[in-house]
């Protein structure tokens, strides 16, 4: 017996230590981390060293096990670099299921690819891509590389569990070191543990570690701010990029840096100034002046994105835009600002985080959290906000791309953080007014007249501006959810107001608008607005708050002219529900062989406690049921 134990031990000893081959056996992954995971980060280390205000170095080393085909992207190393950064020392090792080393990454396994994104015409982004092309699951890859970074407007943001639906993490470590004279600002997010700090020879270091993070199931309507999971965002106090120096310990400082970058870039050609003068002569209302000049800018320019080096932060000169007629968000906003300046109107170059799915920035952590630039024109009353990259955007309208969030104004006194306007349930409207003539076969002719405002009109506005005749028709078909119909005629009109409006009219021929079975007809009077969001209800208790991002109001008023012979056998009772999330009403009335259907649904926005999820699900379920209630007629 003793001998057996000895030999088993010896065997283990030999295989793992003497041979030195077995390093990352997949079998060593704890069971709870395997569950629902497609890949497991076995170990990851990121060291970010700030050498001085203008240069940093990143050293990354990680080992990840790929469990199945859906995790295959983790077997590829992708490192982005550009004119301001340099990647060196890429190394990689491939291990099989047992953790035995089977290959080392060769030079020929690393490719260098252009990284110009679809939205950019030209930029300097490139990728180093390292790949083994191996697929016997599970297997493990180990990668490391170093990067010199001279784009010091931001340091490192570390989100070890950003892909929590697919990736489990055994261990991930992050350490950032800065000269004590510069010091570091950082913010710990979403429940990460406190930093371990040390100071040696004038270098301050901060480190964090996470362990054993299993894959998480996504909760519907989870708040956007928890999207990337626990993490740390770090930022400099002072920095230097391509000879430009700045500070960012306050929003004021960061806004000041935009002023530095924009300095002397607002000079316009004489012709442009003359045109501006001519356009605004005779207009006294400052709002009308801004509007006129915004439309002038929209007609004169288009969005072309070219990002090279500091050009990622700094706008092209206004003169360049005036001559070429194009630029990116920075260039066009700066151009618009210059135009307004020539008309003696003050405006502020405004940094913002754009996107309809983005959480607001961390307002208590001044740092470069922006991806877009717009323009703010201060007025006596409400400020005017101008999206300068769109040639079709209504004057003063921000849509859900930039509305309802914090933005950084670069004022002459430095940066100021303010909120952009949001669109509530009174701004986002959908009104449908429908007249239907129903015949004894259940077929119908319908005339609809609809009005959409705010973010609910965005798709219609874009259909007009982007689609041709045929595409518009297909788009109309896709917007109407009636089982069988022909679109006889349609029109879409758009009014460009601060809260824009789209008016849509349709003529429809509907086959079996009411389903006819024998002598009866079954009709769902809610012809076009059936609510479809059914929320899954699970036994698991809800972890996160519930965030409803958009508010809106829908009203439907449908009149059916019924066949002369039809007698109502059954009709739904009125429904009236009021909750914290909104209000729903629907009602059917019959008079003079006419059926009137009325529906109103107000959806509110906001963040609600985790416990309210079940109520929301119940509310939506009730709406869904009421929206499907039928009228039964006998012929």
């Amino acid at each position: 017996m003793k001998k057996f134990v000895y030999s088993a031990f010896f065997w283990l000893f030999c295989s793992s230590f003497i041979l030195g081959q077995v390093k990352w056996p997949a079998a060593a992954i704890p069971e709870n981390l395997r569950e629902n995971a497609h890949a497991v980060m076995r170990k990851s280390e990121t060291f970010y060293t700030v050498r001085n205000s203008g240069e940093g170095q990143r050293k990354v080393h990680y080992i990840v096990t790929i469990l199945d085909q859906q995790g295959i992207e983790y077997s590829t190393l992708t490192v982005r670099y550009d004119k301001l950064s340099k990647v060196t020392n890429i190394e990689g090792t491939l291990y099989n299921t047992l953790g035995e080393k089977i290959k080392t990454l060769k030079k020929s396994d690393i490719s260098d690819q252009s990284g110009i994104s679809n939205t950019n015409l030209f930029d300097d982004v490139r990728y180093k891509v390292g790949q083994f092309n191996y697929a016997s699951f599970p297997f493990t890859v180990e990668f490391s590389y170093e990067e010199t970074d001279r784009n010091m407007l931001s340091y490192e943001s570390w989100y070890p569990h950003f892909d929590s639906e697919n990736l489990a993490v055994e261990q991930d470590f992050f350490k950032i070191s800065v000269p004590a004279s510069l010091d570091l600002r950082y913010k710990e997010l979403n429940g990460i543990g406190a930093a371990v700090t040390e100071e040696n020879n004038g270098i301050k270091s901060y480190s964090w570690m996470v362990k054993n993070l299993p894959v998480l199931e996504k909760e519907p309507y989870a708040p956007r701010k928890i999207k990337y999971g626990p993490g740390v965002i770090t930022a400099p106090n002072e920095f230097e990029v391509e000879g430009y120096q700045g500070k960012m310990s306050s929003w004021k400082d960061l806004g000041e840096f935009d002023n530095v970058l924009c300095k002397n870039r607002d000079i316009l050609p004489e012709e442009t100034i003359a045109e501006v003068k001519q356009l605004t002569s005779g207009i006294t209302d400052p709002v009308q002046k801004v509007k006129k000049l915004y439309e002038y800018m929209q007609n004169k320019t288009r969005y072309i994105s070219i990002q090279l080096g500091i050009g990622g932060w700094q706008p092209f000169e206004a003169k360049y835009v005036a001559e070429k007629g194009y630029g990116d968000c920075k260039a066009l906003s700066n151009f618009m600002k210059s135009i307004l300046k020539s008309a003696n109107i003050e405006s502020y170059y405004t940094s913002i985080q754009a996107g309809d799915d983005k959480a607001d920035i961390l307002t208590d952590f001044p740092s470069q959290q922006f991806n877009h630039v717009i323009l703010c024109v201060p007025m006596k009353q409400d400020s005017i906000w101008l999206e300068c990259t769109s040639q079709t955007n209504p004057f003063g309208y921000l849509s859900d791309f930039t509305s309802d969030r914090h933005a950084l104004l670069a004022t002459p006194e430095g940066g100021k953080l303010v909120m952009t306007p949001g669109y509530g349930e009174k701004d986002n409207l959908q009104h449908r007014n429908i007249q239907v003539v129903l015949n004894e076969e259940g077929d119908a002719e319908a005339e609809t007249s609809m009005l959409f405002t705010g973010i609910l009109q965005d798709d219609y506005a874009s259909a007009i501006s982007r689609m041709n005749d045929d595409e518009q028709k297909k788009f109309m078909y896709s917007q109407i959810h009636i089982p069988n119909f022909d679109l006889v005629k349609f029109s879409i009109q758009n009014e460009k107001k601060t809260i824009p409006v789209s008016k849509v009219k349709n003529s429809l021929l509907i086959r079996k608008c009411a389903s006819k079975s024998g002598t009866r007809m079954f009709l769902n009077p809610n012809l076009m607005s059936v609510f479809n969001q059914i929320l899954p209800v699970t036994d698991k208790s809800r972890k996160h708050d519930v965030e409803l991002i958009n508010a809106y109001t829908e009203t439907d008023s449908v009149m059916f002219q019924l066949p002369a012979k039809a007698i109502i056998e059954a009709q739904p009772a009125p429904v009236n529900i009021e909750t914290a999330f909104g209000k729903y009403q629907s009602e059917v009335k019959i008079k003079d062989q006419k059926l009137y259907y009325y529906r109103k649904f107000i959806r509110k926005r906001g963040i609600f406690p985790p416990g309210s999820y079940a109520e929301l699900a119940d509310f939506y379920k009730k709406i869904s049921k009421a929206d499907r209630a039928q009228v039964v007629m006998k012929l």
Binding site: S111, S114, L121, Y134, F137, S465, K474, N484, S517, V632
Partner: protein
């Protein structure tokens, strides 16, 4: 020699799947568009009458290609293009940026660009204002070692602008003449391509599309390749399509590439005067076969299955029946090789290397499978094909680049079967739906031939429902859903990628009013059996009670809810890939104290040309239960545009019937 020129002639005169009637030469006309000379009417145009909301219109797109001789590089192909576009809407601004791909091969042969010019024209106070493309607006993007893009963006583009650009590319690839696409996703008023080819270059030309040529001519010309040398006999081809409408993706299409009007060229032979140093490229299907079999990354690999010897011996020892040996090899390759998702007829590596990596493209995997079968002494050969999203194969044109996929043709006894080892969930004997695209070409030294790929397989879904309805409108009972044919494949794939739990969860999400007490999945691993889902559930709110009546949709909302064919017209065929079959067989018991008042009417429909059928029957059984049967079958994988309206109507009837209800009344 004679053979090739005959082929050559035949090809240029061929007309594909729709007849293109070139108008006679009398009507033919010239269109001269000079750079910088802008027609005022074009600048004044507010919208294009034939497509009033079009974002832009290509006023003219004119190109020519010809040969020239260079001391350093030899014969080169020069391609000149001049395109003029009217911008009508702001969304059309994207047309003011353009990129030209420039290839390079092993550093030696390359394409370069010459005489790139561009300009924007605007009407300002009735004056034409010109803005030229300047150097600052030209960029070079190095995509890979072998591919660079020359990118341009034109200045001062506005609604109403006319823009134009012109350039020449000079290519060292003398066997390749650029393809010309006459149609774009915006209308093209005049698209013209002129090609001059010396007679010693033999090309096959392929025209396709649904738009007729306005002009299509061939005339003999004398070609001088270099001022100092003699003139060569040659031909000049000219094609014009006028007023081509915008072409756009529609549902149930294979690929836009199959419908777009274009002309392509494939080198057949180079036969210099005197016939010396003639070079023949794969021209006949015999040559095609021979070429492929000689390729290091195709035919040669078929003999390199030796590394599998050990496994082959194990199989031989364990299985005596050939069919079992094939199956064992099939399973072995499928469990050991993961498809990387790439389609190709060429291996990316040696078979041995791919086997070590455990992954490869479809050629790596299926040629390995064939090599293994050959080691087993089983007759197996490759069938090359083009996948549905890659476009169709035209049997009259021998074009290697048209093929992008390879499967195994295996002879077992007197039968042959097509197999594809890239998909672990495929039932033995099937090939993936992506491969069901016309015919494939069997590559065999002696018996090369066409092999039909279209299968009679279906996507079949059968629901059997058995429910008791109580007097509160609640339904209790069970249903089984079986997925057959490709339906089984899809369901299994879904379950394996999502996990069983997630699959069931997503079913629950789609049925919020169902209180499911049991959900079992059967035959998940038995790929040749139907996959069966057995569900026990109670359902609220499906039957509605009003007064003395209960109304019930007998398909429990599982029927067809929306017509997939929406628009009234259709230009292109509807491509469904497989036959589609859906069956519902339901039995309901009715609550005590209720009787049937009304049942939906029975119906039987069929599509013309045996395209499909639908039947719906409801009856009362002897036990007082209600029996419902609904069956529909689409028998053709492709419906022509002329059949579209009857297909749409067919679906309309099904949707209407599936919405009907049973009425019960209190006794």
């Amino acid at each position: 020699m004679k053979h090739y020129s005959r082929y050559f002639l035949q090809s240029t005169l061929s007309v594909l799947f729709i007849l293109l009637f070139p108008l006679s030469n009398i009507l033919a006309q010239e269109k001269t568009v000079k750079f910088g000379k802008i027609d005022l009417a074009d600048l004044q145009m507010k919208s294009y009458p034939k497509d009033t909301s079009s974002e832009a219109v290509i006023l003219s797109d004119i190109a020519d290609a010809y040969y020239r001789y260079s001391e350093s590089s030899g014969l080169q192909v020069v391609f000149n293009r001049h395109r003029r576009i009217k911008i009508l809407k702001k969304s059309g601004y994207d047309w003011a940026s353009y990129q030209i791909p420039l290839g390079r091969y092993k550093g030696a042969n390359k394409e370069r660009i010459e005489n790139l010019r561009g300009a924007t024209y605007n009407l300002v106070n009735d004056q034409i204002v010109t803005d030229k493309l300047d150097k600052a607006s030209i960029f070079d993007e190095k995509q890979t070692e072998n591919l660079t893009y020359k990118k341009i963006t034109l200045p001062n583009v506005k609604e109403g602008s006319v823009i134009e650009y012109t350039y020449s590319t000079v290519s060292d690839f003398d066997t390749s003449i650029p393809t010309w696409e006459f149609q774009k996703n915006i209308p093209v008023i005049w698209s013209e391509y002129k090609v001059q080819i010396p007679d010693f270059y033999h090309f096959k030309m392929i025209h396709q599309g649904y738009e007729p040529f306005f002009i299509s001519t061939v005339k003999p010309v004398n070609i001088s390749l270099d001022p100092t040398t003699t003139r060569y006999e040659g031909k000049e081809y000219r094609w014009v399509i006028k007023d081509a409408p915008a072409i756009q993706e529609e549902p149930f299409m294979t690929t836009l590439n199959d419908y777009n009007a274009k002309v392509e060229f494939e080198i057949a032979a180079i036969i210099p005067p005197g016939g010396l140093n003639s070079k023949y490229f794969s021209v006949t299907w015999e040559d095609f076969t021979k070429t492929l079999l000689e390729y290091e990354n195709f035919g040669t690999q078929l003999k390199r299955g030796g590394f599998l010897k050990e496994k082959v011996n194990t199989i031989k020892a364990a299985e005596k029946e050939p069919v079992n040996q094939v199956f064992a090899a099939y399973q072995f390759i499928r469990t050991n090789m993961k498809w990387d998702g790439n389609s190709s007829i060429y291996t990316s590596n040696s078979l041995k290397k791919s086997f070590e990596n455990k992954t490869g493209n479809c050629a790596d995997i299926n040629l390995m499978f064939i090599a293994m079968l050959k080691e087993l002494g089983i007759e197996a050969d490759p069938v090359v094909l083009s996948t549905r999203d890659h476009g169709r194969i035209l049997p009259n044109y021998v074009l290697e680049k048209k093929f992008n996929y390879v499967v195994a043709w295996v002879k077992i006894g007197d039968n042959s079967v097509l197999l594809d080892a890239t998909d672990p969930f495929l039932d033995f004997g099937k090939i993936p739906v992506r491969c069901l695209n016309g015919s494939g070409r069997l590559i065999h030294e002696a018996n090369a031939d066409w092999v039909p790929l279209s299968s009679n397989e279906r996507i079949t879904k059968t629901l059997i429902l058995n429910f008791d309805l109580n007097n509160e409108g609640q339904m209790n009972g069970s249903l089984s859903i079986s997925h057959l044919g490709y339906g089984g494949l899809y369901a299994r794939k879904q379950i394996f990628t999502d996990s069983k739990a997630k699959y069931i969860e997503s079913f629950r999400k789609k049925h919020p009013t169902w209180n499911i007490s049991k959900f079992e999945i059967e035959k998940l691993e038995e790929l040749s059996d139907p996959l069966v889902e057995n569900i026990t559930t109670s359902i609220q709110e499906t039957a509605s009670i009003a007064g003395d009546h209960i109304y019930l949709n007998p398909l429990l909302g599982e029927g067809e809810k929306e017509n997939p064919f929406k628009t009234t017209e259709r230009k292109f065929p509807v491509e469904l890939a497989t036959q589609i079959e859906e069956n519902y067989i339901a039995t309901f018991s009715i609550p005590e104290g209720y009787e049937i008042e009304e049942l939906p009417k029975n119906i039987r429909l069929s599509l013309p040309n045996d395209g499909g059928k639908f039947s719906y029957f409801v009856s009362k059984t002897e036990e007082g239960k209600i029996a419902v049967s609904s069956k529909f079958l689409l028998k053709k994988p492709t419906f022509y545009a002329e059949e579209y309206s009857s297909l749409k109507e067919f679906y309309a009837q099904i949707v209407a019937k599936h919405a009907e209800q049973i009425v019960l009344k209190k006794k």
